[in-house]
C-alpha cells in the first residue's frame, strides 16, 4: 500500500463567474519530495497553489494537505508559504517581521539564524520596501522556512534572484527535502526543476496535461520522440521496431520510443507513420526538454 501523499488534489474545479481557472486538476505531492507545478502563464498554477494554501475556495473537488483541510490550523501550523506577489509589511524590518511571525507558530526556527541563512543581515534597519527585489524574495523565503514546516509551498521562489542566490536557494531546498520536508513549487525556471524536482506536474488551460518524473516527461537519453495525432494505436509500430524498444504516448499527440536510436529506427518510425497516413512532426533523437513540453502544453488546442 502506497503512503498517503502530503498533498492530494482530486478533480479540482475553480470558477470565477464564467471563467474556469482550474478545470479538473488531479495531482499529488509525495512526502519528502519536491513536486514542481509547471505550465504557461494563466494555466491555473497559482490558483491551484492558493487553493492548497487555503486562500481560496474550490468550486468542486477535494483537496487534502497533510491529511486535513487546507487553511485549518491543523495545517497552517505545519506549512510554510512563499507567495508569488507580496507578502511583506512594507514598513517592517526583516528581523522584527520574523520575530512577530514566530509568535504565531507553536515551534519555529531562530529568526536571526534564518536571515543569516538566506543572506540577509539580521541587524539591518532597512525596511522591506527599501530592499531590492531579490532581498525581498529572500526575506519571504525566510518567513516560509520559519515554522520548520513539514510542507513548503513556494510560488515562483527564484524570481528576481541573482544566479548565486538562486543556487544557494536550490541547495537549501534540497537540504530541506532530504531532511523530510515535502515541497510544492511553481516556477518558470525549468533548469531549477531539472535540478531539484522529483515529480513534475504540467498544467495547461486549467487541467493536468502531463505528470511524472523529469525523465518520464522528457524521455530517457536513449529515446526518439515524435508528434502526431493523439491516440495512435502503437502496437503496429512496436512490432516494427527492435525487440528492446518500448513505445508510449507520453501526452496526447506526443510519442516516445525508448531504446537506442539509429537511422534504421528513424526510418521505421517514419515509414510506419506514412502507412498510417500520419505526418510525424518534431522527430527528435534523445531527450525532449521541459521547455518544449511546457511550450507544447501552452500551444495545444483546447
Amino acid at each position: 500500500m502506497s503512503p498517503i501523499p502530503a498533498l492530494m488534489i482530486e478533480d479540482l474545479v475553480v470558477r470565477y463567474g464564467d471563467v474556469v481557472a482550474v478545470n479538473g486538476v488531479t495531482m499529488t505531492a509525495s512526502t519528502s519530495q519536491v513536486t514542481a507545478l509547471l505550465g504557461p502563464n494563466g494555466a491555473g498554477k497559482t490558483t491551484t497553489v492558493e487553493i492548497a494554501c487555503g486562500l481560496r475556495s474550490a468550486t468542486s473537488g477535494t483537496v487534502r494537505l497533510l491529511g486535513a483541510e487546507p487553511g485549518t490550523r491543523a495545517v497552517t501550523e505545519r506549512v510554510g508559504v512563499m507567495l508569488q506577489h507580496g507578502g511583506l509589511y512594507p514598513t517592517a524590518r526583516p528581523l522584527e517581521w520574523l520575530k512577530y511571525l514566530a509568535r504565531l507558530y507553536p515551534t519555529h526556527a531562530d529568526p536571526s539564524e534564518l536571515l543569516d541563512l538566506v543572506g540577509i543581515d539580521p541587524s539591518t534597519h532597512t525596511t522591506t520596501r527599501r530592499l531590492s527585489g531579490g532581498e525581498q524574495q529572500r526575506v519571504k523565503l525566510a518567513a516560509a522556512l520559519l515554522p520548520n514546516p513539514e510542507f513548503l509551498i513556494l510560488d515562483e521562489p527564484t524570481a528576481g534572484l541573482d544566479p548565486l542566490a538562486r543556487r544557494n536557494l536550490l541547495e537549501a531546498l534540497a537540504q530541506r527535502r532530504d531532511a523530510g520536508t515535502s515541497i510544492l513549487l511553481t516556477t518558470h525556471q525549468l533548469s531549477d526543476v531539472e535540478a531539484l524536482a522529483d515529480h513534475v506536474v504540467v498544467i495547461a488551460r486549467g487541467h493536468v496535461v502531463a505528470q511524472g518524473t523529469v525523465a518520464d516527461l522528457t524521455g530517457a537519453d536513449d529515446a526518439m520522440s515524435f508528434s502526431g495525432p493523439p491516440r495512435l494505436e502503437l502496437t503496429g509500430l512496436a512490432a516494427t521496431l527492435p525487440g528492446d524498444f518500448r513505445v508510449e504516448e507520453v501526452r496526447p499527440g506526443n510519442y516516445v520510443a525508448h531504446g537506442p536510436p539509429s537511422p534504421q529506427v528513424m526510418a521505421a518510425i517514419t515509414t510506419w507513420c506514412a502507412e498510417q497516413g500520419v505526418m510525424a512532426t518534431d522527430l527528435a533523437v534523445g531527450r525532449r526538454t521541459l521547455e518544449q513540453i511546457v511550450i507544447d502544453a501552452g500551444s495545444e488546442p483546447s
Binding site: 487553511g71 497552517t76 507567495l83 507578502g87 512594507p90 514598513t91 509568535r103
Partner: protein
C-alpha cells in the same frame, strides 16, 4: 499556541508599526489638540461642549480613516494574504486590529483630555455612558473602515477614507450639531454614526441624559457594517 497569544502578538505588531508612523501621530495626537486649541481661540464659548466634538473627530480619525488606509495598503502589499496562510485566523487578525486601534484611541483620548484639562476642561462624566459610546462608536467606525479597505483598491481607500472623514466632520453632525440644523436636515444627519457618536459623547461628558436614539443608531450601523465586512472582505 492559544488564540489569546496570537491576538496579543498581532495587536502588539500593529501598535509597533502604527506608533512608528509620523502621519499617524499627527492624526491622533497633534491634530485633535490643535483643533481644540483653534476652537478655543476662534469660538471661545464653553470648553465642555467643544471637547466631545474634538474627541469625536479624534475617534473617527483613528478608528476609521487611519485604520482603513492602513488596512488598504497592507492588503495591497499582500501582507494580509500571507498572514492568511499562517495560524493567525481572520478573527485573530480583526481582534488584534481592534485591540491596537482601541489602545491608540485610548492614548489619543488621554492626550486630548490632558490638554483640555490644562485649558480649563472640568467634565461632568457618566463613565458607563462614556464607555458605551467610545466602544460602540469606535467599533462602528472600525467596521466601516474594514468594510471599505476589504473591497476597494488601496488608492481608492485613501481617497474615500479622507473624503468621507471630512464630510462627516463638517456635515455629519460633529462640528455643527444635528440639533442646530433645520429639522428636516438635522433629522437625517442624526441618523449618521458621526452625529450619533458626537451626541452620545456630549451627553456622557456634560451630565446629560443617555441619548438612546444615538445608541441605537450606532448599534445598527455597527452591526450592518460588521456583517457586510465579514461577507465581502478579501485578503487581496
Amino acid at each position: 499556541m492559544s488564540g489569546v497569544t496570537r491576538v496579543r502578538a498581532h495587536a502588539g505588531w500593529e501598535l509597533r508599526l502604527l506608533l512608528r508612523n509620523g502621519e499617524q501621530i499627527l492624526l491622533m495626537f497633534v491634530i485633535p489638540i490643535a483643533l481644540l486649541f483653534a476652537l478655543r481661540i476662534m469660538q471661545g464659548g464653553v470648553i465642555n461642549e467643544q471637547v466631545p466634538t474634538v474627541l469625536s473627530v479624534s475617534l473617527i480619525a483613528t478608528c476609521f480613516t487611519s485604520l482603513a488606509i492602513g488596512t488598504g495598503f497592507e492588503r495591497r502589499a499582500g501582507a494580509l494574504k500571507f498572514l492568511a496562510t499562517t495560524p493567525l485566523s481572520r478573527v485573530d487578525l480583526l481582534l488584534g486590529k481592534a485591540l491596537a486601534t482601541g489602545a491608540l484611541a485610548a492614548l489619543s483620548f488621554a492626550a486630548l483630555a490632558s490638554a483640555a484639562a490644562i485649558m480649563g476642561w472640568r467634565p461632568d462624566v457618566d463613565l458607563l455612558s462614556l464607555g458605551a459610546f467610545v466602544f460602540l462608536g469606535g467599533g462602528t467606525f472600525a467596521a466601516l473602515a474594514v468594510l471599505l479597505a476589504g473591497v476597494l483598491r488601496a488608492e481608492a481607500v485613501l481617497a474615500l477614507a479622507n473624503g468621507i472623514f471630512v464630510l462627516l466632520i463638517v456635515f455629519g453632525g460633529v462640528v455643527f450639531a444635528s440639533a442646530d440644523m433645520p429639522p428636516a436636515i438635522g433629522g437625517v444627519v442624526s441618523l449618521l454614526p458621526s452625529a450619533a457618536l458626537c451626541d452620545g459623547l456630549t451627553a456622557a461628558l456634560t451630565g446629560g441624559p443617555l441619548p438612546v436614539g444615538a445608541l441605537l443608531v450606532l448599534v445598527v450601523w455597527g452591526a450592518a457594517s460588521a456583517l457586510l465586512a465579514r461577507r465581502t472582505f478579501a485578503w487581496d
